[in-house]
C-alpha cells in the first residue's frame, strides 16, 4: 500500500512547521499549503496589491523546502473575509461576541480545507492544533495550557476520520524542541495572539473604524442612565473596563442591546448565571445530544463547569438501526445547560463546548444565559 497523501496546512508558525515535519517522519506523502487569508495588512506591501503575511508565507515555504515537500499558497482571502471577518463584525453589531477562530476552523481552515483536500485526492488533512484525534473521536490535547479542542468542537465524524493532529500528544516545549532538532527556522518564532485580522489587538477601535460611532446609554438594571458610550459594539458581557461611569463599586456589562443602543451594567453578583442555552449544536460522533451530565467550557481558556445537558427540540432518539422516517440530523439542535454551580455570564456568540473527561462531545454557540430562577431572561 502506498503512503497516504496528506495535505498539511502551514501557517508559517512553529506548530504547523512541526506538524509537517512529523507527517514526513511518519512516512506520509506530504504536501504543504499556506492559506493567504487577508489582502491588506497595514504593515505589509504597498499600494493595495498586497499579500498577507508575506513573511509567514516565506517561513512556511522555507520549512517546506527543508522538508523537501511540495508547497503552494492558496488565496482564501475572499472566503476568510466573508465567512470570518464580516461575520465577526456582524456578530458584534448584533450584540454578540463571536469566536472568530472557531468560525475560521469551521468555514475555512479545517472543514473547508479538508473538503478541498479530499476533492484533490488527498487522503487526509493535518493541522497543528493541540488536540488529539483518535479512533475518529476528538480529545483534549496533552498540553493543557495549549489545548485547542475548544475551537475544533464543530468537527463531525466525517471530518475527524480524515483529520490528522500530530501535535495532540505533545506539549509546546516538546514541539519547539522538535523544531530545533530538525533545524526548522520557525523553532523560536513567537506565539501569535489575539484576533489575526486585528493586528494591534484593539477590537473596539477596529469595530469603530468599520461602523463609525453609534452613541448610546449605559444603564443599570432598573433602566437608570449612568453614562454614555460611543457604540454598543464596544462592549461584551462581563466587561468591566471602559464603561466611563463613576460608581462606588465596580460595574460589569450584563447585557448589550444594540437595537436600543443600550449597555446594561450591574454588580458582580448580577453576572452569575446557572443556565446557558446553546444553538447550532453539533456532536463529534454525529449523533443527537441526549440528556446527560457533562462538563462545559464557555471560554477558550476559561474554567469548566459541570452541567446537565437538556435538549430542547428535535431530540427524538433514533437508534442506529432506525433507517426510516425523517433523517436524523445531529446538527442544529438547541440545548439548555443547567450548570452545577453559578459562573460569570458569558456573551452570546461565544462557543460552548461539552466534554466527557478528555473527550469532546460537541458544542454550540451561546444563544443566551440566565440565572436558574429566572428563565425568562433566556433569549
Amino acid at each position: 500500500m502506498s503512503a497516504p497523501q496528506v495535505l498539511v496546512a502551514m501557517s508559517g508558525g512553529v506548530d504547523s512547521s512541526v506538524t509537517a515535519a512529523l507527517a514526513v517522519e511518519a512516512g506520509w506523502d506530504v504536501t504543504g499549503v499556506h492559506l493567504k487569508l487577508a489582502d491588506t495588512p497595514g504593515h505589509l506591501q504597498v499600494q493595495g496589491k498586497g499579500c498577507c503575511t508575506l513573511a509567514d508565507a516565506d517561513d512556511a515555504r522555507r520549512v517546506a523546502g527543508t522538508l523537501g515537500i511540495p508547497f503552494y499558497v492558496w488565496d482564501m482571502a475572499e472566503d476568510f473575509q466573508r465567512a470570518v471577518v464580516d461575520d465577526f463584525a456582524a456578530e458584534y453589531a448584533g450584540g454578540r461576541t463571536p469566536n472568530p477562530c472557531a468560525r475560521c476552523n469551521e468555514q475555512v481552515k479545517v472543514v473547508g480545507l479538508l473538503a478541498r483536500a479530499r476533492a484533490l485526492g488527498f487522503d487526509a488533512l493535518a493541522t497543528g492544533h493541540y488536540a488529539r484525534g483518535e479512533d475518529g473521536r476528538l480529545y483534549r490535547g496533552a498540553d493543557a495550557a495549549k489545548d485547542q479542542s475548544y475551537v475544533l468542537y464543530m468537527l463531525g465524524p466525517d471530518e475527524l476520520e480524515h483529520l490528522r493532529l500530530p501535535l495532540g500528544r505533545l506539549t509546546k516545549p516538546e514541539v519547539r524542541a522538535t523544531a530545533a532538532r530538525l533545524g526548522l527556522r520557525t523553532a523560536a518564532k513567537p506565539e501569535s495572539y489575539d484576533v489575526c485580522f486585528v493586528p494591534d489587538g484593539d477590537t473596539a477601535g477596529w469595530l469603530e473604524r468599520r461602523f463609525g460611532p453609534r452613541p448610546g446609554q449605559v444603564v443599570d438594571t432598573a433602566g437608570r442612565v449612568l453614562g454614555h458610550h460611543r457604540g454598543a459594539y464596544r462592549y461584551t458581557v462581563g466587561q468591566r473596563r471602559g464603561l466611563g461611569i463613576a460608581a462606588p463599586t465596580p460595574r460589569y456589562v450584563l447585557r448589550v442591546e444594540p437595537a436600543a443602543g443600550r449597555v446594561v451594567v450591574g454588580e458582580r453578583a448580577d453576572l452569575a448565571i446557572t443556565t446557558v442555552e446553546l444553538e447550532r449544536t453539533t456532536t463529534t460522533d454525529g449523533r443527537p445530544l441526549r440528556p446527560r451530565h457533562a462538563k462545559v467550557r464557555l471560554r477558550a481558556h476559561g474554567t469548566e463547569v459541570g452541567c446537565r445537558v437538556v435538549p430542547l427540540e428535535d431530540t427524538a432518539p433514533r437508534g442506529p438501526g432506525d433507517l426510516h422516517g425523517a433523517p436524523a440530523h445531529p446538527h442544529g439542535t438547541r440545548v439548555r445547560l443547567e450548570l452545577d454551580e453559578p459562573v460569570d455570564a458569558v456573551a452570546p456568540g461565544q462557543a460552548g463546548v461539552l466534554y466527557d473527561g478528555d473527550l469532546v462531545l460537541g458544542g454550540g454557540t451561546v444563544a443566551g444565559s440566565g440565572p436558574a430562577d429566572d428563565r425568562a431572561q433566556l433569549s
Binding site: 504536501t31 499549503v33 499556506h34 496589491k49 499579500c51 498577507c52 508575506l54 478541498r116 485526492g121 446538527h331
Partner: protein
Amino acid sequence: MTYLDYAASAPLRPEALAAMLPLLERPAANPSSQHVQGRAARAAVETAREQVAALVGAAPGDVVFTSGGTEADNLAVKGTVLARAPEARHLVCSAVEHHAVLDAAAWAEADAGAQVDLAPVDRLGRVELDRLAALLQPGRTALVAVMAANNEVGTGQPVAAVAELSHAAGAVLLCDAVQAAALPGVDMTADGVDLLAIASHKLGGPTGVGALIVRPGTALRPLIHGGGQERGLRSGTLPAAALAGFGAAAAAALTDRRTGATTTLTTLRSHLLAGLRTLAPDLEVNGEPGHVGGNGSTPNRNGVPSPSRPGLGLPGLLSVRFPGRRAEDLLLLLDRYGLACSAGSACASGAVTPSHVLVAMGRGPAEARETVRFSLGHASTQADVDAAVAAVAQALEVLAPAEDRKGSPARREVAP
C-alpha cells in the same frame, strides 16, 4: 517533467551557457578597465549589445543594459516623467500592462506629480485605439505605454498605430516587449517605438539582465547613479558573463525567427489546444495570441481604426479557463503529475490572485481564478504537448465531477 511555463522564465539556451562559461572561468575583469582582461570583458559586452540591437531593429548604441525587464520598464516610465516639466507629466498606460509599468506609473502619480490614465481593452485584451486616442492630451501627455504582446493571455497590440497616435500628441511610446522580443515583427524602427523593454531570461538567456532600447533623442533621466556606465543612464558595473549569455540568446532567437520556429510554436500550441478541448469541451481561450483555433484572419475590431501593422500575438502562449475548476487546484495536481505551468498572475506570496489583465478584459474575479496559462518556447516539442495533455487529463479526472466545487469550497452550514 514537462515545462510549459516559458512565459515565466525560459530554460537557458545551450548557446547562452556556452557564451557565459568562458567569462565565468576567466579571471575577474571589469568591462570598464583598460587592461587586457578588461578589454576582453568589454568586447563581450559590446558583442552582446550588437546581438540585442539586431533582434529588435535598433542600433547598438541605443541599448541600455539593465537588471531586467522590470528595471527597463521602471527606467522608461520614471525616467521619462522626471525628464518632463511638472505640468507635462501625464501618462497613458494600457490596462493590461505588466505591473512593472503600472506600479511605476502609480509611483509617478503618488510621488512625482504625474497623472495616469488607463486605456481600456476589448474582450480579447486588445487596446481600443479610439478610446486611447481620447485620453491623450497633446503637449501634456509625456508617455504612452502599450506592450507588444501580453504576458498573461498573449494578445498582441497594434503598436505601430499607437506610436502614430502618441507621436501626434507629442508623447513617447514605451513598448514592453519582454514577452514578444523573439517574434518576427518586433521592430523598433518600423513600429515607431521610442522606448522598448526586453528581458534576457524570457529569450533563453540568464536572469538578472535586460535592456531598455532608447531611440536617440528621447529625453530620459537616470534612476541609478554612480560610475556613469551606459551613457550615464544606468550606472553599475556591467555583468559581462550574463550579458554575453543575453546576447547569445538574442542571436539564437533571431535565428529561430528566420528558420520558422514561430510556425512550429503555433502548430504545437494548436495541438495542445485541440488536446485540451477533447478533455474539457467547455474550456474557454482567453485573449487572441495569434491564430488560435482560427484561420489566421485578424479579429474584427468594429469602430477601431485599422492599424498599419496588426499586433502580433505570442505563438507559444495559451491561456485557457476551465469553468468550475480553480486554477490553484489544477496547478497542484499538474505539478504532481509532472507538468509545470502557471495561473498567469501570482502575488508576492505565490498565491494566485485575480488577474488585472483578465478583469480588464471583462472577466469576473471568479472566472479569472479558473485560468491556467501554458506557454511553450524554444525547446518545446510535440512530446511535451502530449505529456501536458496527459497530465491535464489526470488532473481533470481527480477533480471530476466539477459541480461539487463550483464557487467556494468552504461552504458548509452546520445548521441544516
